[in-house]
Amino acid sequence: MLECENLAKSFEKDLFGGFNLKLNPGEIVAITGPSGCGKTTLLRCICGLEELDSGKIILSGNDITAIAAEERGIGLIFQKPVLYPHLNVEGNLKLASKHGDIAAALSEVNLTGFETRNIGTLSGGEGQRVSLARALLAKPSVLLLDEPFSSLDVELSDKLVNDVRAILKERNCPAILVTHNRNIADSFADSVISLK
Amino acid sequence: MSKKLVLLSLLISLMMTSGCISEAIDENMKSEDYVWEDDGELVIVTYDVTGLTDSMLSEFENQTGYEISLMKLEDAGSILNHLLQYKGVQVADLAIGLDNTYLQTAIDNDVLWEHFANFSNISETALAPYDGPLAVPFDQGYMCLNYDTEIVDGENLSVPTSLWNLTEDEWKGKVAIPSPETSSPGRAFMTATVDYFANDEDNQTDWTDWWTAMSSNDAIITTGWSEAYETHYTGGYGEYTEGYVGDAHIVVSYCHSPGVESWYNDNWTKSSALDLPRAAFHQVEYAAAVAGGNLDAASAFIEYLLSEEVNVNMPTENFMYSVLDGTDLPEDGGYRHHSTVPTKTAEVSPIDIASNMENWLEDWNQAMVAA
């Protein structure tokens, strides 16, 4: 259970202020708003990559506001797949968990048999699936998604939205999706917040 | 902004305190304070003295059990500089190659100390410049100008009858002289010119005027004797070496250099020594124990160097006269025949050299720049 209390940040202008959110286990929330309004920054603050000006973040009853990103246990899927070119698919997955079940992770995202594939040979959709599999292998308490579908074409994006939602629901993993696309927000999330 | 100020002031104060460290280090280093031990090694600092051949050195090693290592520097000037720079922290045990124009500076700076080598039979001429306990002569020679007889034949170029001839147009760019700042033959020759011009008929000019004129006349000044003799001089063996340029027809060398040429060439040479009174200089080269070094080893080597078997070979091994009494250049190959003993060498007392050398070098420098 994730609680955000009065999160505020400004950088050359006010990005967001007084942001509150309560995320229950298994719940998926979407945050929408026009480009440049601070959605990405909000996600980055929640997972610890950037610092808040004020506010508190509480995860499972613990105040994690001051804790480093690598220790929060919150996953993040970026807009474009972030795959390490010096490792193949399996290598990338192992970064999240040395002893985890790679095969199971890949089959969960419908990429069975992709272990030895080279990163450069993957399509956009496949890349995001690998990123997802990797993020999930790290067993996050919350998964954040920063518009991961926007770089894909409509058909693919629709499919992926459904697949990812199903996986998250299956795992009962709470998630926050940030997007400027209202339709995707509606299909993916249980509830939608507008960030203005 | 304030950081920059701090840095700048730090830098300036650093610079102003400069000199302190060196001052502190330099203070207490007298030779009486040195302690040494015999570690079975002999480090010789020298320039490329040809006489120190491998066989000669191995012979010494076999006889005495000492292990020799040579520290070869560019020329006599480098030897002196090395000794002065490492004063108090010397790494060499024996210095071979300082001559009577460099020796006094070394003595004055307290970098040599008394050896206890035993020898006898050194000629008086060799001992004339210095006969004290701090250095031992091991070879000697006379510096003078050598000229190429094939070109300096009266038709192309006339044989100079006075040093002033060399400042004339026909000699422009054709004279090679090693620098007195770095080379011992060069320094010896410069010293000779001090005396030469002090005693010529012309009261209006002195030696610095001549050097200025030489500089204007494109005299080739080299760092060392080898470059002057091998690379520039046309009368010697230089034309057989790689990198030969051959633009000088007169060069500062030894009065017996033509003899060496002849000895190598089956009694033939085109080089000849120019015998102008006072334009020659009696040079003596020394072996000296370095203060703080292995005195046992140094003394042993000095004895070896002065021994009959070794020293009589100076003319053929080292191309210099021996310092032992009753020796002379060999006759074979026309060595002795083609060598000249100058009629009159420059008369400059060792005391004069000692007290004036730094000033002469400064004057020389200014004379060359004035051109």
Binding site: L49, E70, G75 | S18, L52, Q85, E239, G246, E358
Partner: protein
């Protein structure tokens, strides 16, 4: 972001490494000469040995730049704009000169102009031109490496668009409005570096132009008489004056370079991988002579090592033989064998690698971190790391010799690693120049993502950062090894102890042996060949791992 302690350690260590020897040397020189900056500079004109040296240094460096650009830009143009078979081989061949130690270059050109080659050595008037050509030979690759990537990766749409506009109708119009502005930063950067290298030329000047000196070679010549109280005081003034002038001129050039390199990092529209370039048969008229020019001196070195020439009164005879090689590899009392020199060179190179690589990395990382919060300070640190370029190797050598040895001569003189100090000072700037751009171009998202996966700092360093930068690390390593093995200036001043003899030093020593010894030239060329082959091997290894378009110095 790196640990603050690491950053401080690196900067302090490096500062000590540079500042301490230099300060000690300056201390000694000032102790002898007194503190009078204007007096020092004035003394250059008042001393015979330094008269005309500054003018000569500047003139030859400037002419070298002009010639290098004149030859290099057309070549870069051909290589960048057109398709070539064996493209990377051609580029490698043209870069070979740069990685050659200067003493090898000196031997190569001596062979070409000597009696076995063009036989123009005895003609004094050819020396200056030979020097300029040799400098151009050395620095050609800089122009090519700086300019060619810009030419070859530019989006062709930029030129196509211009051709359809009035100002771009003619070639001259396109040059003026597109190519020259585009290439100007690269050209100026290459010109700066060529100037710096030519300005501080030592080995080439010593051997090719007898009697002429650059500030660098002059300082080397009189260095041995420096720092002695009451002896040749004016020479100390000369060294101080020359150092200050050299330092100022070089610092300005380097500042310009650093500023330009940062500007170059700004992205130009880069073409996709699939642009097709045409062939240009006529271009071979430019590229082929260039390749021959690049290879010729190296071949000359190799061939000369097997050629013995004996001359005496009866004439001269030449024959092929390996005697020169035997001579070089046999130790005598006055000269260590090339084997010993080789071992020393390799040993020093490896240890320099062990020190300079981590040090350079830490400095680069520190600069990178600062760039994001305090860009001015970052720039200052950037230029500071390049100081050894401005200070020049002879001064570094003097620093080590006058400075460190005076602290404790017994220790430093017998400590085999003393020359390594100089080597580290000289190679670390190269590491920074190579790694810094690579760090700049590393997408921070990679690090962010790894953090969200729970990876600790150490893990991210070893599993992400190092592997992703392995190309630059490898190149830096190879550069360090090559630079260390070829180092001449500082070593020449420092090496009084034959235990320290390295390959470049022994080449110089062999060549300088007087008297009529036919072995000196072949032997010197034999050792040069060894050094050359090692440099080649190291260099070819870089080519395999060079990351594309990293915008770095190479």
């Amino acid at each position: 972001m790196t640990n603050k302690y690491v950053a401080y350690t690196a900067v302090i260590l490096y500062s000590l490494l540079i500042i301490v020897p230099l300060w000690l040397a300056l201390d000694r020189l000032i102790w002898v000469a007194g503190f009078d900056i204007l007096g020092w500079i004035g003394s250059l004109d008042e001393n015979f040995i330094s008269q005309g040296v500054l003018e000569f240094t500047i003139i030859q460096a400037t002419l070298s730049v002009i010639l290098t650009l004149a030859i290099g830009i057309p070549i870069a143009w051909q290589l960048g704009r057109y398709n070539w078979p064996f493209q990377s081989l051609i580029k490698s061949l043209l870069t070979m000169p740069f990685v050659m130690p200067s003493i090898v270059a000196a031997m190569g050109f001596m062979s070409i102009i000597g009696e076995n080659g063009l036989d123009i050595r005895s003609d004094r008037s050819t020396w200056f031109a030979t020097l300029i050509i040799a400098h151009a030979w050395f620095n050609l690759s800089l122009v090519i490496r700086f300019c060619e990537p810009v030419l070859s990766t530019l989006d062709p749409h930029m030129e196509e668009q211009l051709r359809l506009l009035p100002s771009g109708k003619t070639m001259w119009g396109r040059l003026r409005h597109l190519w020259i502005p585009l290439l100007m930063p690269s050209i100026v950067a290459a010109a700066c570096m060529t100037f710096v290298f030519s300005f501080t030329s030592f080995a080439l000047v010593e051997w090719i132009t007898l009697g002429e000196n650059t500030l660098e070679s002059m300082m080397a010549d009189i260095g041995s008489s420096a720092g002695i109280k009451g002896v040749m005081v004016s020479k100390n003034e000369v060294i101080l004056g020359a150092s200050i002038i050299q330092f100022t001129i070089l610092l300005l050039s380097l500042w310009l370079m650093s500023w330009l390199q940062q500007r170059r990092q700004n992205l130009l529209p880069i073409a996709s991988e699939n642009i097709v370039k045409t062939n240009n048969k006529k271009g071979w008229f430019i590229v082929l002579p260039a390749i021959i020019f690049a290879i010729l001196p190296l071949l000359a070195v190799l061939i000369s090592s097997f050629r013995i020439r004996e001359t005496d009164a009866s004439g001269s005879r030449q024959y092929w033989s390996t005697e020169g090689w035997e001579y070089a590899f046999t130790a005598t009392n006055s000269l260590p064998s090339a084997w010993d020199a080789l071992q020393n060179s390799l040993g020093y190179a490896l240890i320099t690698l062990a020190v300079a690589l981590p040090l350079g990395w830490m400095l680069a990382q520190t600069i990178r971190d600062l760039e994001q919060v305090k860009p001015r300070l970052a720039r200052m640190l950037d230029v500071f790391t390049m100081l050894p370029f401005a200070v020049s190797s002879v001064m570094i050598g003097l620093g080590v010799m006058l400075g460190m040895i005076r602290i404790n001569a017994e220790f430093f003189y017998s400590f085999w690693l003393t020359p390594v100090i100089a080597h580290v000072m000289i190679t670390t700037p190269f590491v920074v120049r190579i790694i810094l751009p690579a760090l700049r171009s590393l997408d921070p998202t990679f690090d962010d993502c790894a953090r969200t996966l729970g990876m600790s700092k150490t893990k991210r360093f070893f599993l992400i950062k190092i592997p992703m930068l392995r190309g630059s690390l490898l190149i830096s390593s190879i550069f360090i090894l090559a630079m260390s093995m070829g180092e001449f200036g500082a070593s020449w001043v420092v090496t009084r102890n034959s235990d320290w003899t390295t390959l470049p030093i022994i080449i110089d020593s062999i060549r300088a042996i007087p008297y009529n010894n036919p072995m000196t030239v072949p032997a010197a060329n034999a050792v040069s060949s060894v050094l050359m082959i090692i440099a080649l091997v190291l260099f070819v290894s870089t080519e395999k791992f060079r990351p594309k378009r990293d915008g770095g110095m190479f």
